[in-house]
């Protein structure tokens, strides 16, 4: 058995009579390399480990839960976390809904999320990848002025979870990525573009692809000007679609719904989106960057249908939100590492792809705005009200093709209106970092604000 799972079980064995106890332990190693102008700017390598403990006690009016974490697996740190979690539990409001996850018989997916190539690749070889990315981007087009940074990073993390309710889970995941930020143009016309590639290990990474993305995305923005305000169809780049879906995912959290903080509340069974929209959360798809076998409470991750043919079918739940809503947990507890408590959330959103290629979507749209990247998502998009307003870099679409670049404009609508106004979904499914895969998507009736 894994040392980490054994450690988690030993912590669970320290539960007092009548006490529920859950231990979530994580241990990881990481390497981060940054290259600038052909040289290594920084090289970081480190390992870290920690544990999060939840303790649940039962009183006459319900259950009380307390949480504590430690950035260490040393016995003294674990002792203190147990002490603090127990002390904290006494102060929470008794609640019949809170509690630890109960094993529900769902079998975890047998998928491998770990690449051996992270260990078998030397640090020098990883440095070479970042240097190649820097060089290819800098020299790939004469209009590239400089490369701000070219990064390689990888991460291997093992997590173990055990509880007094019989939950046992162990998983190992690895990830590797390269990313590059390019600056094109001269002093009077500067444009930027980023490129990246993600995978389980260095073997999965295409340096060429990342370099080309950064070059294309910065160079095609040269000469960008502010466009006049207009109501038009916006075509979202796969990265932008992924960002949009991740905010919609927040509104599909069962916790947000049961607490009245989602515009989807009370709308189950209604047509909330265009009939072409089918959205699932499926962490069992191994290609998804955020794929996982266990959720943050140790239940098996599974496929959950959220919107089917435009109709709202369900939400994602952790144990507490599910009990509050009177439904079963969906294996959707998310956790921001050992220092985070579990909360309901979407982990690997997947919009069912359509049949059109990106070029065919542009042709079908005719006139509109191609949105290459967005800014201000955290300040201008609300998963509660649905209000949507973001800054945009992009290109006008004229006669069904990409035309002149535009910058310093916003596009706005509401998430509710945008879901119903989906005009086309591309066939170009792309797995991206973050909790949603992306593809080209066209949405009509967006307001562009500019000059």
């Amino acid at each position: 058995m894994s040392d980490l799972l054994e450690l988690a079980e030993k912590v669970v064995a320290r539960a007092l009579p009548g006490e529920g106890l859950e231990a979530y332990a994580a241990s990881g190693v990481e390497t981060e390399i940054r290259v600038y102008e052909g040289d290594v700017e920084s090289l970081s390598s480190a390992s870290s480990a920690g544990i999060g403990v939840r303790i649940v006690t039962e009183g006459s009016e319900g259950f009380q839960v307390g949480f504590a974490w430690a950035g260490s697996l040393e016995p003294a740190a674990i002792d203190r976390a147990l002490f603090e979690a127990r002390a904290n539990a006494a102060f929470s409001t008794p609640d019949p809904s809170v509690g630890l996850a109960e094993p529900d018989g769902v079998t975890p997916a047998t998928i491998s999320l770990r690449a051996d190539s992270i260990e078998s690749t030397s640090t020098d070889a990883k440095i070479a990848l970042a240097k190649e990315l820097d060089l290819r981007t800098r020299t790939g087009d004469p209009r590239i002025r400089q490369v701000d940074s070219a990064d390689y990073a990888d991460h291997v993390v093992e997590t173990a979870i055990a509880s007094t309710t019989g939950v046992r889970g162990l998983s190992e995941r690895s990830s590797a990525y390269v990313s590059v930020s390019a600056i094109a143009g001269g002093a009077d016309d500067t444009q930027t573009g980023s490129g990246y590639c993600v995978g389980r290990g260095p073997d999965d990474l295409s340096i060429e692809e990342a370099a080309q993305q950064a070059i294309e995305r910065s160079v095609r923005m040269l000469g960008a000007v502010k466009a006049p305000s207009a109501r038009l169809t916006a075509v979202f780049d796969p990265r932008v679609t992924s960002t949009l879906l991740s905010v919609i995912g927040q509104a599909l959290s069962g916790e947000a719904v049961v607490k009245g903080r989602s515009f989807f509340e009370g709308r189950l069974g209604e047509m909330v989106a265009h009939p072409s929209v089918t959205l699932v959360d499926d962490p069992t798809v191994p290609e998804a960057f955020t794929a996982a076998t266990f959720d943050g409470e140790g239940l098996a991750c599974r496929r959950n249908v959220l919107i089917e043919g435009g109709s709202l079918r369900g939400f994602v739940y952790d144990t507490a939100a599910a009990r509050r809503a009177g439904v079963q947990p969906t294996g959707s507890a998310m956790r921001g590492g050992y220092a985070g408590r579990p909360v309901a959330g979407c982990r690997a959103l997947l919009l069912t792809p359509g049949s059109l290629s990106p070029d065919e979507i542009l042709a079908s749209v005719g006139e509109g705005l191609y949105v290459q990247s967005v800014t201000g998502v955290h300040s201008g998009v609300s998963p509660v009200s649905g209000d949507f307003s973001v800054g945009v870099d992009g290109l006008m679409i004229r006669d069904g093709q990409l035309a002149e670049p535009v910058r310093e404009v916003t596009v706005a609508s509401t998430l509710q209106a945008m879901l119903l106004a989906v005009a086309a979904i591309g066939s170009d499914l792309t797995y991206l970092p973050g909790v949603a895969a992306g593809m080209t998507v066209a949405i009509s009736e967006m307001q562009l604000s500019g000059s």
Binding site: R341, S385, G391
Partner: protein, 465 residues
């Protein structure tokens, strides 16, 4: 708490090991963090959380390359191992670096009159309940309330082969209310928060019920809001609504890491007029109690007050040790890192615009048509192009010089240098606001401040044509 994080003789041996293979500089950054938070949601104290973390990050500079390793093992053996890993970027063997003896330690105690550990947990939870009740009783439209309390203590120690030897003890408190209102047109949210680099005494100076009512009022006002305008309009930003405008419009662009890489629109602009002559912008880590304040930065350098823009002229950038060394100058005390697991970089502290002499009410009265932003949300900037966005959390139309109807939330977009030149009125009021600044994956607490001001034109990203 006077316990030393590391003994001086251990520091000496670890630094010697770190430069033994040929590095020009080595530094050890040691941190001990504890935090506690409590969340009241849906009327219940949902969960109290406590955390503790302790470790050290070691960096070794070899030429233009930084080697970095961190460890949670603060034993001498653990630190020596981290030193060897960090030093692995140097391969020529044979250390030639002169290790300067450690300076007399500059040690700063906790600047808190009431440490959190001295306060019963029940007193902290009472604040949550008071705020919850106040928000709910503010209006029948309030349908949900979330209140969070947070406290943290961060003790750091920095020592380097250049003689730096300093420690700091940073105590922080925060309180945040998010109210949701339900109306015929759906849900709206309102936020209000308060955060200071001080102990529990923060709550002597604020009324959490008022804070909660403010958050609730914002949510309720937006229930009747009309769609925000689309296109360029004059905008009046209320004092303290968020110096986030300056944080994004020029603050990030004045960080020296962007300057030395020529990836900022403000590179090469020292001595140039980059803003309206009304603008004097300061970054000041020494403002006692402010959310972005500290005694020494995460490179052991004392915080200082830096005037960045004076009467519209760019006077200075912000520097950390590494970028200052490249330019043969000294750091401005802006080297920060989120935790011991991160490399330091140039960060803002408390960034604010100095007050002018106009009357805030007069500024509104002299604006025939525009938007009044009472509260800003967050923002984001592309430092290379200068384009930035910032969101509204409470905004109203200005019609015939009067504040009238509420508007739904939207982002505004502008270009830093252009917007700074369009500031045509600055009032004599002033307020600060706490925020969390994210850069390159690291989050640090920062303060933002400004008086009421007007921008003659900026693009509002609403849906109303």
């Amino acid at each position: 708490m006077t316990e030393e994080l590391l003994a001086p003789d251990v520091i000496d041996r670890v630094l010697a090991e770190a430069v033994s293979r040929g590095g020009q500089m080595a530094e050890i950054f040691c941190e001990d963090r504890t935090s506690r938070s409590a969340l009241l949601d849906d009327g219940r104290v949902e969960e109290l959380s406590s955390g503790q973390e302790r470790g050290a990050g070691i960096r070794v500079i070899v030429g233009e390359t930084t080697g970095f390793a961190h460890t949670a093992d603060l034993s001498e053996a653990g630190l020596l191992e981290a030193a060897r890993v960090a030093a692995s970027v140097a391969s020529d063997g044979g250390g030639t670096t002169t290790i300067v003896g450690l300076e007399p330690k500059r040690s700063y105690g906790a600047r808190a009159s009431v440490l959190h550990d001295e306060v019963p947990t029940a007193d902290k939870l009472a604040l949550l309940r008071q705020a919850d009740e106040a928000a709910r009783s503010a209006s029948g439209s309030i349908s949900q309330v979330q209140v969070s309390y947070g406290e943290g203590r961060r003790r750091i120690l920095v020592a380097s082969t250049e003689g730096t030897y300093a420690s700091d003890d940073q105590v922080r408190s925060r309180f945040n209310v998010v109210a949701v209102a339900l109306g015929d047109a759906g849900l709206q949210t309102g936020h209000e928060s308060h955060a200071r680099t001080e102990g529990f005494e923060m709550f002597d100076a604020i009324d959490v019920e008022e804070l909660a009512k403010t958050a609730a009022g914002r949510a309720v006002a937006k229930l009747l809001a009309r769609p925000a305008p689309s296109g360029e309009v004059p905008v009046v930003l209320a004092g303290g609504s968020g110096g986030v405008l300056f944080h994004e419009a020029c603050g990030h662009g004045l960080e020296a890491d962007h300057i030395v890489k020529d990836s900022s629109v403000y590179a090469g602009q020292l001595g140039e007029l980059v803003a309206s002559p009304l603008v004097t912008l300061v970054d000041d880590g020494t403002v006692a109690g402010e959310w972005g304040a500290y005694a020494v930065d995460d490179e052991g350098r004392p915080a200082q007050r830096n005037v960045l823009i004076e009467n519209g002229v760019l006077t200075e950038y912000m520097w950390d040790w590494l970028r200052a060394r490249k330019e043969g100058r000294s750091s401005s005390g802006n080297g920060r890192r989120e935790t011991y697991q991160h490399l330091p970089m140039v960060r803002m502290t408390n960034t604010f615009l100095l007050a002018g002499d106009a009357d805030p009410d007069e500024i509104v009265a002299q604006t025939p048509h525009g938007v009044y932003v009472a509260k800003l949300g967050g923002g984001q900037v592309n430092t290379a192009t200068g384009d930035f966005v910032f969101g509204t959390n409470e905004a109203y139309l200005i019609e015939a010089g009067k504040i009238t109807e509420p508007l739904r939330d939207a982002n505004l977009i502008g270009n830093g240098p252009e917007v700074l030149r369009r500031i045509d009125a600055i009032a004599d009021d002033f307020a600060m606001m706490p925020g969390t600044c994210g850069k390159d994956g690291q989050s640090v607490p920062v303060g933002c401040g400004q008086p009421t001001l007007r921008i003659s034109g900026v693009t509002f990203g609403g849906t109303a044509a």
